[in-house]
Symmetry: C2
Subunit: 293 residues, 2 copies
Protein backbone atom coordinates (compact mmCIF):
# COMPACT_ATOMS: atom_id res chain seq x y z
CA UNK A 1 0.00 0.00 0.00
CA UNK A 2 2.64 2.48 1.02
CA UNK A 3 4.73 1.67 -2.05
CA UNK A 4 1.79 2.28 -4.38
CA UNK A 5 1.16 5.53 -2.60
CA UNK A 6 4.75 6.70 -3.03
CA UNK A 7 4.55 5.96 -6.76
CA UNK A 8 1.23 7.77 -6.83
CA UNK A 9 2.62 10.84 -5.13
CA UNK A 10 5.42 10.93 -7.69
CA UNK A 11 2.85 10.80 -10.49
CA UNK A 12 0.73 13.45 -8.78
CA UNK A 13 3.74 15.75 -8.34
CA UNK A 14 4.72 15.35 -11.98
CA UNK A 15 1.16 16.10 -13.02
CA UNK A 16 1.04 19.15 -10.74
CA UNK A 17 4.20 20.50 -12.37
CA UNK A 18 2.63 20.13 -15.81
CA UNK A 19 -0.56 21.81 -14.61
CA UNK A 20 1.48 24.63 -13.07
CA UNK A 21 3.21 25.02 -16.42
CA UNK A 22 -0.10 25.30 -18.26
CA UNK A 23 -1.47 27.78 -15.72
CA UNK A 24 1.75 29.78 -15.94
CA UNK A 25 1.24 30.09 -19.69
CA UNK A 26 -2.44 30.97 -19.35
CA UNK A 27 -1.66 33.60 -16.70
CA UNK A 28 1.70 35.06 -17.72
CA UNK A 29 3.52 37.71 -15.71
CA UNK A 30 2.21 41.19 -16.43
CA UNK A 31 4.20 43.78 -14.58
CA UNK A 32 1.92 46.45 -13.15
CA UNK A 33 -1.40 44.87 -14.02
CA UNK A 34 -2.81 44.48 -10.53
CA UNK A 35 -5.73 42.25 -11.49
CA UNK A 36 -3.65 39.89 -13.63
CA UNK A 37 -0.97 39.80 -10.94
CA UNK A 38 -3.58 38.76 -8.37
CA UNK A 39 -5.03 36.13 -10.70
CA UNK A 40 -1.58 34.69 -11.35
CA UNK A 41 -0.82 34.72 -7.63
CA UNK A 42 -4.09 32.90 -6.92
CA UNK A 43 -3.64 30.13 -9.48
CA UNK A 44 0.08 29.59 -8.97
CA UNK A 45 0.00 28.40 -5.38
CA UNK A 46 1.51 25.19 -4.21
CA UNK A 47 -1.60 23.09 -4.54
CA UNK A 48 -1.66 19.35 -5.08
CA UNK A 49 -3.65 19.96 -8.27
CA UNK A 50 -5.79 16.97 -7.42
CA UNK A 51 -8.78 18.03 -9.51
CA UNK A 52 -6.68 18.63 -12.64
CA UNK A 53 -5.01 15.26 -12.00
CA UNK A 54 -8.44 13.59 -12.03
CA UNK A 55 -9.31 15.34 -15.30
CA UNK A 56 -6.07 14.18 -16.91
CA UNK A 57 -6.44 10.62 -15.64
CA UNK A 58 -10.09 10.33 -16.65
CA UNK A 59 -9.09 11.58 -20.11
CA UNK A 60 -6.28 9.00 -20.32
CA UNK A 61 -8.81 6.20 -19.84
CA UNK A 62 -10.26 7.08 -23.23
CA UNK A 63 -7.06 8.18 -24.96
CA UNK A 64 -8.18 11.79 -25.18
CA UNK A 65 -5.45 14.17 -26.39
CA UNK A 66 -3.36 15.21 -23.40
CA UNK A 67 -3.18 18.77 -24.71
CA UNK A 68 -6.95 19.16 -24.83
CA UNK A 69 -7.40 17.52 -21.46
CA UNK A 70 -4.81 19.86 -19.96
CA UNK A 71 -6.91 22.89 -20.97
CA UNK A 72 -9.95 21.45 -19.27
CA UNK A 73 -7.83 20.61 -16.23
CA UNK A 74 -6.59 24.20 -16.11
CA UNK A 75 -10.12 25.58 -16.49
CA UNK A 76 -11.32 23.49 -13.57
CA UNK A 77 -8.38 24.59 -11.43
CA UNK A 78 -9.33 28.22 -12.17
CA UNK A 79 -12.77 27.53 -10.73
CA UNK A 80 -11.27 25.82 -7.70
CA UNK A 81 -8.80 28.66 -7.11
CA UNK A 82 -11.44 31.37 -7.52
CA UNK A 83 -13.58 29.60 -4.93
CA UNK A 84 -10.66 29.60 -2.49
CA UNK A 85 -10.04 33.33 -3.04
CA UNK A 86 -13.69 34.18 -2.34
CA UNK A 87 -14.02 31.69 0.55
CA UNK A 88 -11.01 33.24 2.24
CA UNK A 89 -12.56 36.74 2.22
CA UNK A 90 -13.28 38.45 5.56
CA UNK A 91 -17.05 38.15 4.98
CA UNK A 92 -16.64 34.40 4.43
CA UNK A 93 -13.98 32.33 6.25
CA UNK A 94 -11.70 35.31 6.93
CA UNK A 95 -8.47 33.34 6.44
CA UNK A 96 -5.03 34.94 6.35
CA UNK A 97 -3.16 31.93 5.03
CA UNK A 98 -3.72 29.60 2.11
CA UNK A 99 -1.22 26.90 1.20
CA UNK A 100 1.23 28.60 3.57
CA UNK A 101 1.06 31.94 1.76
CA UNK A 102 -0.96 35.10 2.47
CA UNK A 103 -4.45 34.86 1.00
CA UNK A 104 -5.20 37.13 -1.96
CA UNK A 105 -7.05 39.76 0.08
CA UNK A 106 -4.10 39.86 2.52
CA UNK A 107 -1.46 40.01 -0.22
CA UNK A 108 -3.44 42.53 -2.28
CA UNK A 109 -6.72 43.85 -0.81
CA UNK A 110 -10.31 42.84 -0.50
CA UNK A 111 -11.64 44.54 -3.62
CA UNK A 112 -8.84 43.04 -5.69
CA UNK A 113 -9.60 39.60 -4.25
CA UNK A 114 -13.27 39.86 -5.20
CA UNK A 115 -12.38 40.90 -8.76
CA UNK A 116 -9.61 38.31 -8.94
CA UNK A 117 -12.12 35.55 -8.18
CA UNK A 118 -14.59 36.96 -10.68
CA UNK A 119 -11.86 37.09 -13.31
CA UNK A 120 -10.73 33.52 -12.68
CA UNK A 121 -14.25 32.13 -12.88
CA UNK A 122 -14.75 33.93 -16.18
CA UNK A 123 -11.38 32.68 -17.45
CA UNK A 124 -12.44 29.08 -16.88
CA UNK A 125 -15.12 29.39 -19.54
CA UNK A 126 -12.82 31.28 -21.88
CA UNK A 127 -10.25 28.49 -21.58
CA UNK A 128 -12.79 25.81 -22.49
CA UNK A 129 -14.12 27.95 -25.33
CA UNK A 130 -10.63 28.07 -26.83
CA UNK A 131 -9.71 24.41 -26.24
CA UNK A 132 -9.20 22.19 -29.27
CA UNK A 133 -12.41 20.11 -29.21
CA UNK A 134 -15.49 19.97 -31.42
CA UNK A 135 -17.99 22.68 -30.46
CA UNK A 136 -20.49 20.09 -29.18
CA UNK A 137 -17.88 18.78 -26.75
CA UNK A 138 -16.93 22.27 -25.65
CA UNK A 139 -20.57 23.09 -24.99
CA UNK A 140 -21.06 19.97 -22.91
CA UNK A 141 -17.98 20.89 -20.90
CA UNK A 142 -19.20 24.47 -20.43
CA UNK A 143 -22.62 23.27 -19.33
CA UNK A 144 -21.36 20.65 -16.90
CA UNK A 145 -18.73 22.96 -15.47
CA UNK A 146 -21.37 25.65 -14.94
CA UNK A 147 -23.74 23.20 -13.27
CA UNK A 148 -20.95 21.86 -11.03
CA UNK A 149 -19.68 25.31 -10.09
CA UNK A 150 -22.86 27.32 -9.65
CA UNK A 151 -25.91 27.47 -7.41
CA UNK A 152 -26.71 23.82 -8.12
CA UNK A 153 -23.17 22.83 -7.18
CA UNK A 154 -20.19 24.39 -5.46
CA UNK A 155 -21.59 27.87 -4.80
CA UNK A 156 -24.82 26.34 -3.48
CA UNK A 157 -22.80 24.09 -1.18
CA UNK A 158 -20.79 27.02 0.11
CA UNK A 159 -24.03 28.82 0.96
CA UNK A 160 -25.29 25.77 2.89
CA UNK A 161 -21.97 25.58 4.71
CA UNK A 162 -22.25 29.20 5.81
CA UNK A 163 -25.85 28.73 6.89
CA UNK A 164 -24.71 25.78 9.03
CA UNK A 165 -22.95 28.26 11.28
CA UNK A 166 -26.30 29.50 12.55
CA UNK A 167 -28.70 26.61 11.95
CA UNK A 168 -26.75 23.46 12.70
CA UNK A 169 -27.03 20.27 10.70
CA UNK A 170 -29.36 17.91 12.51
CA UNK A 171 -28.06 14.73 10.90
CA UNK A 172 -25.15 13.41 8.90
CA UNK A 173 -27.13 13.32 5.64
CA UNK A 174 -27.39 17.11 5.75
CA UNK A 175 -23.61 17.43 5.97
CA UNK A 176 -23.18 14.89 3.20
CA UNK A 177 -25.66 16.78 1.00
CA UNK A 178 -23.82 20.04 1.64
CA UNK A 179 -20.44 18.47 0.92
CA UNK A 180 -21.74 16.77 -2.24
CA UNK A 181 -22.30 20.28 -3.57
CA UNK A 182 -19.46 22.17 -1.93
CA UNK A 183 -16.59 19.84 -2.80
CA UNK A 184 -18.26 16.88 -4.51
CA UNK A 185 -19.53 18.74 -7.56
CA UNK A 186 -16.07 19.77 -8.78
CA UNK A 187 -14.72 16.26 -8.19
CA UNK A 188 -17.61 14.97 -10.26
CA UNK A 189 -16.84 17.33 -13.10
CA UNK A 190 -13.15 16.41 -12.91
CA UNK A 191 -13.91 12.72 -13.30
CA UNK A 192 -16.68 12.95 -15.88
CA UNK A 193 -14.64 15.36 -18.01
CA UNK A 194 -12.63 12.53 -19.59
CA UNK A 195 -15.79 10.74 -20.69
CA UNK A 196 -17.30 13.97 -22.01
CA UNK A 197 -14.15 14.76 -24.03
CA UNK A 198 -14.28 11.24 -25.49
CA UNK A 199 -18.09 11.22 -25.89
CA UNK A 200 -18.28 8.09 -23.76
CA UNK A 201 -20.57 7.07 -20.92
CA UNK A 202 -19.58 8.83 -17.69
CA UNK A 203 -21.70 6.82 -15.22
CA UNK A 204 -18.90 4.79 -13.61
CA UNK A 205 -16.64 7.83 -13.32
CA UNK A 206 -19.42 9.87 -11.74
CA UNK A 207 -19.98 7.15 -9.13
CA UNK A 208 -16.26 7.01 -8.43
CA UNK A 209 -16.22 10.79 -8.13
CA UNK A 210 -19.10 10.90 -5.68
CA UNK A 211 -17.36 8.40 -3.41
CA UNK A 212 -13.95 10.07 -3.46
CA UNK A 213 -15.55 13.50 -3.12
CA UNK A 214 -17.25 12.48 0.09
CA UNK A 215 -14.15 10.57 1.24
CA UNK A 216 -12.11 13.71 0.65
CA UNK A 217 -14.33 15.70 2.96
CA UNK A 218 -14.48 13.04 5.67
CA UNK A 219 -10.68 12.90 5.52
CA UNK A 220 -10.58 16.71 5.73
CA UNK A 221 -12.63 16.67 8.91
CA UNK A 222 -10.30 14.03 10.37
CA UNK A 223 -7.26 16.09 9.38
CA UNK A 224 -8.86 19.16 10.89
CA UNK A 225 -8.88 17.41 14.23
CA UNK A 226 -5.52 15.66 13.98
CA UNK A 227 -3.18 17.87 11.99
CA UNK A 228 -1.50 21.00 13.24
CA UNK A 229 -1.41 24.27 11.39
CA UNK A 230 2.24 23.88 10.44
CA UNK A 231 1.62 20.72 8.42
CA UNK A 232 -1.60 21.92 6.85
CA UNK A 233 -0.43 25.44 6.02
CA UNK A 234 -3.77 26.90 7.04
CA UNK A 235 -5.86 27.44 10.14
CA UNK A 236 -7.11 24.18 11.66
CA UNK A 237 -9.99 23.23 13.93
CA UNK A 238 -11.80 26.22 12.57
CA UNK A 239 -15.00 24.31 11.95
CA UNK A 240 -15.00 23.19 15.54
CA UNK A 241 -14.27 26.64 16.91
CA UNK A 242 -17.29 27.94 15.00
CA UNK A 243 -19.51 25.21 16.33
CA UNK A 244 -20.11 23.77 12.84
CA UNK A 245 -20.89 20.07 12.92
CA UNK A 246 -18.44 17.84 11.03
CA UNK A 247 -18.42 14.17 10.05
CA UNK A 248 -16.21 13.53 13.08
CA UNK A 249 -18.94 14.93 15.34
CA UNK A 250 -21.46 12.47 14.00
CA UNK A 251 -19.28 9.39 13.42
CA UNK A 252 -16.61 9.97 16.07
CA UNK A 253 -12.94 9.90 15.06
CA UNK A 254 -12.71 6.13 14.61
CA UNK A 255 -16.11 5.98 12.95
CA UNK A 256 -15.06 8.67 10.51
CA UNK A 257 -11.92 6.72 9.67
CA UNK A 258 -14.00 3.58 9.00
CA UNK A 259 -16.37 5.64 6.85
CA UNK A 260 -13.44 6.95 4.81
CA UNK A 261 -12.25 3.39 4.17
CA UNK A 262 -15.75 2.28 3.16
CA UNK A 263 -15.98 5.16 0.70
CA UNK A 264 -12.55 4.27 -0.67
CA UNK A 265 -13.71 0.67 -1.25
CA UNK A 266 -16.87 1.83 -2.99
CA UNK A 267 -14.82 4.15 -5.20
CA UNK A 268 -12.57 1.23 -6.20
CA UNK A 269 -15.62 -0.93 -6.94
CA UNK A 270 -17.01 1.78 -9.23
CA UNK A 271 -13.82 1.57 -11.31
CA UNK A 272 -14.19 -2.20 -11.91
CA UNK A 273 -15.27 -1.57 -15.52
CA UNK A 274 -11.80 -0.18 -16.27
CA UNK A 275 -8.51 -2.09 -16.64
CA UNK A 276 -5.05 -1.13 -15.39
CA UNK A 277 -5.40 2.23 -17.09
CA UNK A 278 -7.46 3.28 -14.07
CA UNK A 279 -4.74 2.30 -11.58
CA UNK A 280 -3.75 5.88 -10.80
CA UNK A 281 -7.39 6.71 -10.16
CA UNK A 282 -7.48 3.74 -7.76
CA UNK A 283 -4.37 5.07 -6.04
CA UNK A 284 -5.97 8.51 -5.91
CA UNK A 285 -8.83 7.12 -3.84
CA UNK A 286 -6.31 5.76 -1.37
CA UNK A 287 -4.29 8.95 -1.37
CA UNK A 288 -7.38 11.00 -0.61
CA UNK A 289 -8.08 9.16 2.62
CA UNK A 290 -4.43 8.76 3.69
CA UNK A 291 -3.00 12.20 2.87
CA UNK A 292 -1.50 14.15 5.73
CA UNK A 293 -2.56 17.57 4.41
Amino acid sequence: LTQALTAFETALSASALAVDGELGLLFPKRGGDRLRDAMRYAVLGQGKRLRPFLVLQSARLFDVSAQGAMRVAAALECVHCYSLVHDDLPAMDNDDLRRGKPTVHRKFDEATAILCGDGLLTSAFEIIATANFPAETQMQLVLNLALSSGAAGMVGGQMLDIEAETKNFSNVDDIAAMQAKKTGALFRFACEAGAIMAKKDATALRQYADYIGLAFQVADDILDVEADAATLGKATQKDQSRGKATFVDFYGLQGAKSKAIDLHDQAIAALSVFDHKADLLRDAAQFIIMRKK
Copy 2:
Protein backbone atom coordinates in the same frame (compact mmCIF):
# COMPACT_ATOMS: atom_id res chain seq x y z
CA LEU B 1 -36.89 64.07 -31.35
CA THR B 2 -38.96 63.94 -28.21
CA GLN B 3 -41.71 62.01 -29.99
CA ALA B 4 -39.24 59.37 -31.21
CA LEU B 5 -37.88 59.12 -27.69
CA THR B 6 -41.34 58.54 -26.21
CA ALA B 7 -41.98 55.76 -28.72
CA PHE B 8 -38.56 54.37 -27.89
CA GLU B 9 -39.24 54.37 -24.17
CA THR B 10 -42.46 52.49 -24.80
CA ALA B 11 -40.55 49.89 -26.80
CA LEU B 12 -37.83 49.72 -24.14
CA SER B 13 -40.41 49.23 -21.38
CA ALA B 14 -42.16 46.48 -23.32
CA SER B 15 -38.81 44.79 -23.91
CA ALA B 16 -37.89 45.12 -20.22
CA LEU B 17 -41.14 43.41 -19.26
CA ALA B 18 -40.36 40.51 -21.58
CA VAL B 19 -36.80 40.28 -20.20
CA ASP B 20 -38.16 40.36 -16.65
CA GLY B 21 -40.48 37.51 -17.61
CA GLU B 22 -37.61 35.43 -18.96
CA LEU B 23 -35.47 36.13 -15.88
CA GLY B 24 -38.41 35.27 -13.65
CA LEU B 25 -38.65 31.87 -15.34
CA LEU B 26 -34.90 31.29 -15.18
CA PHE B 27 -34.82 32.25 -11.48
CA PRO B 28 -38.12 31.02 -10.06
CA LYS B 29 -39.18 31.55 -6.46
CA ARG B 30 -37.66 28.97 -4.15
CA GLY B 31 -38.90 29.41 -0.63
CA GLY B 32 -36.12 28.97 1.87
CA ASP B 33 -33.23 28.67 -0.58
CA ARG B 34 -31.22 31.67 0.53
CA LEU B 35 -28.82 31.70 -2.40
CA ARG B 36 -31.56 31.34 -5.05
CA ASP B 37 -33.62 33.98 -3.24
CA ALA B 38 -30.69 36.39 -3.39
CA MET B 39 -30.04 35.63 -7.06
CA ARG B 40 -33.70 36.22 -7.90
CA TYR B 41 -33.68 39.44 -5.89
CA ALA B 42 -30.57 40.61 -7.73
CA VAL B 43 -31.85 39.93 -11.26
CA LEU B 44 -35.43 41.07 -10.72
CA GLY B 45 -34.77 44.72 -9.94
CA GLN B 46 -36.36 47.57 -11.81
CA GLY B 47 -33.63 48.00 -14.36
CA LYS B 48 -34.09 49.49 -17.79
CA ARG B 49 -32.74 46.26 -19.27
CA LEU B 50 -30.83 48.30 -21.80
CA ARG B 51 -28.21 45.63 -22.53
CA PRO B 52 -30.83 42.91 -23.15
CA PHE B 53 -32.70 45.40 -25.36
CA LEU B 54 -29.57 45.86 -27.47
CA VAL B 55 -29.18 42.08 -27.77
CA LEU B 56 -32.78 41.68 -28.90
CA GLN B 57 -32.56 44.57 -31.37
CA SER B 58 -29.25 43.45 -32.84
CA ALA B 59 -30.78 39.98 -33.29
CA ARG B 60 -33.84 41.46 -35.02
CA LEU B 61 -31.60 43.05 -37.64
CA PHE B 62 -30.78 39.55 -38.86
CA ASP B 63 -34.13 37.88 -38.16
CA VAL B 64 -32.65 35.69 -35.42
CA SER B 65 -35.30 33.75 -33.48
CA ALA B 66 -36.61 35.96 -30.69
CA GLN B 67 -36.64 33.00 -28.29
CA GLY B 68 -32.95 32.28 -28.78
CA ALA B 69 -32.02 35.95 -28.61
CA MET B 70 -33.98 36.30 -25.36
CA ARG B 71 -31.80 33.62 -23.72
CA VAL B 72 -28.64 35.46 -24.69
CA ALA B 73 -30.20 38.73 -23.49
CA ALA B 74 -30.97 37.09 -20.13
CA ALA B 75 -27.46 35.65 -19.87
CA LEU B 76 -25.94 39.07 -20.44
CA GLU B 77 -28.25 40.64 -17.87
CA CYS B 78 -27.06 38.02 -15.35
CA VAL B 79 -23.49 39.20 -15.91
CA HIS B 80 -24.54 42.84 -15.56
CA CYS B 81 -26.50 42.13 -12.36
CA TYR B 82 -23.71 40.07 -10.81
CA SER B 83 -21.31 42.93 -11.45
CA LEU B 84 -23.66 45.33 -9.67
CA VAL B 85 -23.94 43.01 -6.67
CA HIS B 86 -20.17 42.74 -6.34
CA ASP B 87 -19.55 46.43 -7.08
CA ASP B 88 -21.97 47.40 -4.32
CA LEU B 89 -20.06 45.38 -1.68
CA PRO B 90 -18.50 47.23 1.26
CA ALA B 91 -14.99 46.47 -0.02
CA MET B 92 -15.90 48.02 -3.38
CA ASP B 93 -18.37 50.93 -3.71
CA ASN B 94 -20.12 50.22 -0.39
CA ASP B 95 -23.57 51.18 -1.65
CA ASP B 96 -26.77 50.67 0.35
CA LEU B 97 -29.20 51.33 -2.48
CA ARG B 98 -29.51 50.02 -6.01
CA ARG B 99 -32.43 50.93 -8.23
CA GLY B 100 -34.12 52.32 -5.12
CA LYS B 101 -33.96 49.03 -3.22
CA PRO B 102 -31.47 47.78 -0.60
CA THR B 103 -28.41 46.26 -2.23
CA VAL B 104 -28.02 42.48 -1.92
CA HIS B 105 -25.51 42.64 0.92
CA ARG B 106 -27.88 44.97 2.83
CA LYS B 107 -30.99 42.89 2.13
CA PHE B 108 -29.17 39.59 2.84
CA ASP B 109 -25.55 39.78 4.02
CA GLU B 110 -22.09 40.17 2.59
CA ALA B 111 -21.24 36.48 2.22
CA THR B 112 -24.55 35.83 0.49
CA ALA B 113 -23.91 38.77 -1.86
CA ILE B 114 -20.50 37.41 -2.84
CA LEU B 115 -21.95 33.96 -3.55
CA CYS B 116 -24.99 35.48 -5.27
CA GLY B 117 -22.71 37.27 -7.72
CA ASP B 118 -20.64 34.12 -8.27
CA GLY B 119 -23.82 32.14 -8.90
CA LEU B 120 -25.20 34.67 -11.39
CA LEU B 121 -21.97 34.82 -13.37
CA THR B 122 -21.95 31.03 -13.59
CA SER B 123 -25.63 31.00 -14.59
CA ALA B 124 -24.88 33.23 -17.56
CA PHE B 125 -22.78 30.51 -19.16
CA GLU B 126 -25.27 27.81 -18.25
CA ILE B 127 -28.03 29.82 -19.94
CA ILE B 128 -26.06 30.15 -23.16
CA ALA B 129 -25.09 26.48 -23.03
CA THR B 130 -28.77 25.54 -22.96
CA ALA B 131 -29.96 28.05 -25.59
CA ASN B 132 -31.31 26.70 -28.85
CA PHE B 133 -28.43 27.47 -31.21
CA PRO B 134 -25.88 25.32 -33.05
CA ALA B 135 -22.95 24.43 -30.78
CA GLU B 136 -20.54 26.58 -32.84
CA THR B 137 -22.75 29.61 -32.23
CA GLN B 138 -23.05 28.83 -28.53
CA MET B 139 -19.28 28.55 -28.27
CA GLN B 140 -18.75 31.89 -29.98
CA LEU B 141 -21.24 33.46 -27.59
CA VAL B 142 -19.54 31.86 -24.57
CA LEU B 143 -16.14 33.02 -25.74
CA ASN B 144 -17.17 36.58 -26.50
CA LEU B 145 -19.19 36.90 -23.30
CA ALA B 146 -16.20 35.64 -21.30
CA LEU B 147 -13.84 38.06 -23.03
CA SER B 148 -16.24 40.97 -22.50
CA SER B 149 -16.89 40.11 -18.85
CA GLY B 150 -13.48 39.06 -17.56
CA ALA B 151 -10.05 40.55 -16.96
CA ALA B 152 -9.83 41.75 -20.57
CA GLY B 153 -13.21 43.47 -20.23
CA MET B 154 -15.57 44.46 -17.45
CA VAL B 155 -13.67 43.03 -14.45
CA GLY B 156 -10.45 44.57 -15.74
CA GLY B 157 -12.20 47.92 -16.11
CA GLN B 158 -13.56 47.72 -12.59
CA MET B 159 -10.03 47.13 -11.31
CA LEU B 160 -8.77 50.21 -13.19
CA ASP B 161 -11.66 52.23 -11.79
CA ILE B 162 -10.75 51.24 -8.23
CA GLU B 163 -7.09 51.99 -8.82
CA ALA B 164 -8.10 55.46 -10.03
CA GLU B 165 -9.09 56.29 -6.44
CA THR B 166 -5.43 56.32 -5.46
CA LYS B 167 -3.57 57.05 -8.67
CA ASN B 168 -5.67 59.55 -10.58
CA PHE B 169 -6.15 59.48 -14.33
CA SER B 170 -3.80 61.99 -15.88
CA ASN B 171 -5.77 62.43 -19.11
CA VAL B 172 -9.13 61.76 -20.65
CA ASP B 173 -7.87 58.82 -22.73
CA ASP B 174 -7.16 56.91 -19.51
CA ILE B 175 -10.76 57.37 -18.37
CA ALA B 176 -12.01 56.39 -21.81
CA ALA B 177 -9.82 53.26 -21.79
CA MET B 178 -11.11 52.32 -18.35
CA GLN B 179 -14.72 52.89 -19.37
CA ALA B 180 -14.30 50.96 -22.61
CA LYS B 181 -13.61 47.96 -20.42
CA LYS B 182 -15.83 48.67 -17.44
CA THR B 183 -19.06 49.46 -19.26
CA GLY B 184 -18.13 49.37 -22.95
CA ALA B 185 -17.29 45.68 -23.13
CA LEU B 186 -20.79 44.51 -22.17
CA PHE B 187 -22.38 47.00 -24.58
CA ARG B 188 -20.12 45.59 -27.26
CA PHE B 189 -21.18 42.04 -26.52
CA ALA B 190 -24.84 43.10 -26.46
CA CYS B 191 -24.59 44.61 -29.93
CA GLU B 192 -22.38 41.99 -31.56
CA ALA B 193 -24.54 39.16 -30.16
CA GLY B 194 -27.12 39.52 -32.93
CA ALA B 195 -24.47 39.16 -35.62
CA ILE B 196 -22.92 36.19 -33.83
CA MET B 197 -26.28 34.43 -33.54
CA ALA B 198 -26.85 35.01 -37.26
CA LYS B 199 -23.24 34.25 -38.24
CA LYS B 200 -22.96 37.66 -39.87
CA ASP B 201 -20.28 40.34 -39.81
CA ALA B 202 -20.37 42.26 -36.52
CA THR B 203 -18.06 45.15 -37.45
CA ALA B 204 -20.70 47.89 -37.80
CA LEU B 205 -22.50 46.81 -34.63
CA ARG B 206 -19.24 46.78 -32.68
CA GLN B 207 -18.48 50.34 -33.80
CA TYR B 208 -21.97 51.43 -32.84
CA ALA B 209 -21.52 49.72 -29.46
CA ASP B 210 -18.23 51.41 -28.75
CA TYR B 211 -19.74 54.84 -29.40
CA ILE B 212 -22.87 54.30 -27.33
CA GLY B 213 -20.88 52.62 -24.56
CA LEU B 214 -18.68 55.68 -24.19
CA ALA B 215 -21.69 57.98 -24.62
CA PHE B 216 -23.44 56.10 -21.84
CA GLN B 217 -20.57 56.76 -19.47
CA VAL B 218 -20.19 60.42 -20.41
CA ALA B 219 -23.93 60.79 -19.82
CA ASP B 220 -23.54 58.99 -16.49
CA ASP B 221 -20.93 61.47 -15.37
CA ILE B 222 -23.18 64.34 -16.41
CA LEU B 223 -26.11 62.77 -14.54
CA ASP B 224 -23.89 62.27 -11.52
CA VAL B 225 -23.39 66.03 -11.35
CA GLU B 226 -26.91 67.09 -12.28
CA ALA B 227 -29.33 64.53 -10.91
CA ASP B 228 -30.36 64.17 -7.31
CA ALA B 229 -30.46 60.92 -5.40
CA ALA B 230 -34.25 60.73 -5.48
CA THR B 231 -34.40 60.62 -9.28
CA LEU B 232 -31.47 58.30 -9.71
CA GLY B 233 -32.36 55.88 -6.92
CA LYS B 234 -28.76 55.59 -5.85
CA ALA B 235 -26.06 57.71 -4.27
CA THR B 236 -24.87 60.54 -6.54
CA GLN B 237 -21.74 62.63 -6.79
CA LYS B 238 -19.90 59.70 -5.29
CA ASP B 239 -17.12 59.83 -7.87
CA GLN B 240 -16.55 63.46 -7.03
CA SER B 241 -16.59 62.87 -3.28
CA ARG B 242 -13.89 60.24 -3.74
CA GLY B 243 -11.81 62.55 -5.85
CA LYS B 244 -12.06 60.29 -8.90
CA ALA B 245 -11.73 62.17 -12.16
CA THR B 246 -14.73 62.00 -14.49
CA PHE B 247 -15.36 63.08 -18.07
CA VAL B 248 -16.97 66.22 -16.69
CA ASP B 249 -13.70 67.11 -14.92
CA PHE B 250 -11.80 66.96 -18.19
CA TYR B 251 -14.38 68.32 -20.62
CA GLY B 252 -16.38 70.56 -18.30
CA LEU B 253 -20.17 70.16 -18.13
CA GLN B 254 -20.90 71.79 -21.49
CA GLY B 255 -17.94 70.06 -23.12
CA ALA B 256 -19.17 66.70 -21.84
CA LYS B 257 -22.60 67.37 -23.28
CA SER B 258 -21.07 68.20 -26.67
CA LYS B 259 -18.96 65.07 -26.48
CA ALA B 260 -22.06 62.97 -25.78
CA ILE B 261 -23.76 64.43 -28.85
CA ASP B 262 -20.67 63.74 -31.00
CA LEU B 263 -20.62 60.15 -29.83
CA HIS B 264 -24.34 59.84 -30.58
CA ASP B 265 -23.73 61.09 -34.13
CA GLN B 266 -20.87 58.66 -34.64
CA ALA B 267 -23.04 55.81 -33.38
CA ILE B 268 -25.76 56.74 -35.87
CA ALA B 269 -23.18 56.88 -38.68
CA ALA B 270 -21.99 53.38 -37.80
CA LEU B 271 -25.53 52.11 -38.37
CA SER B 272 -25.71 53.51 -41.92
CA VAL B 273 -25.32 50.01 -43.39
CA PHE B 274 -28.70 49.05 -41.90
CA ASP B 275 -32.18 50.10 -43.04
CA HIS B 276 -35.20 51.04 -40.92
CA LYS B 277 -34.82 47.81 -38.96
CA ALA B 278 -32.09 49.61 -37.01
CA ASP B 279 -34.34 52.52 -36.07
CA LEU B 280 -34.76 51.44 -32.45
CA LEU B 281 -30.98 51.13 -32.17
CA ARG B 282 -30.76 54.69 -33.50
CA ASP B 283 -33.28 55.82 -30.91
CA ALA B 284 -31.30 53.95 -28.26
CA ALA B 285 -28.26 56.10 -28.98
CA GLN B 286 -30.38 59.18 -28.40
CA PHE B 287 -31.98 57.75 -25.29
CA ILE B 288 -28.57 56.97 -23.82
CA ILE B 289 -27.45 60.58 -23.91
CA MET B 290 -30.84 62.11 -22.99
CA ARG B 291 -32.01 59.82 -20.17
CA LYS B 292 -32.69 61.37 -16.79
CA LYS B 293 -31.53 58.34 -14.79
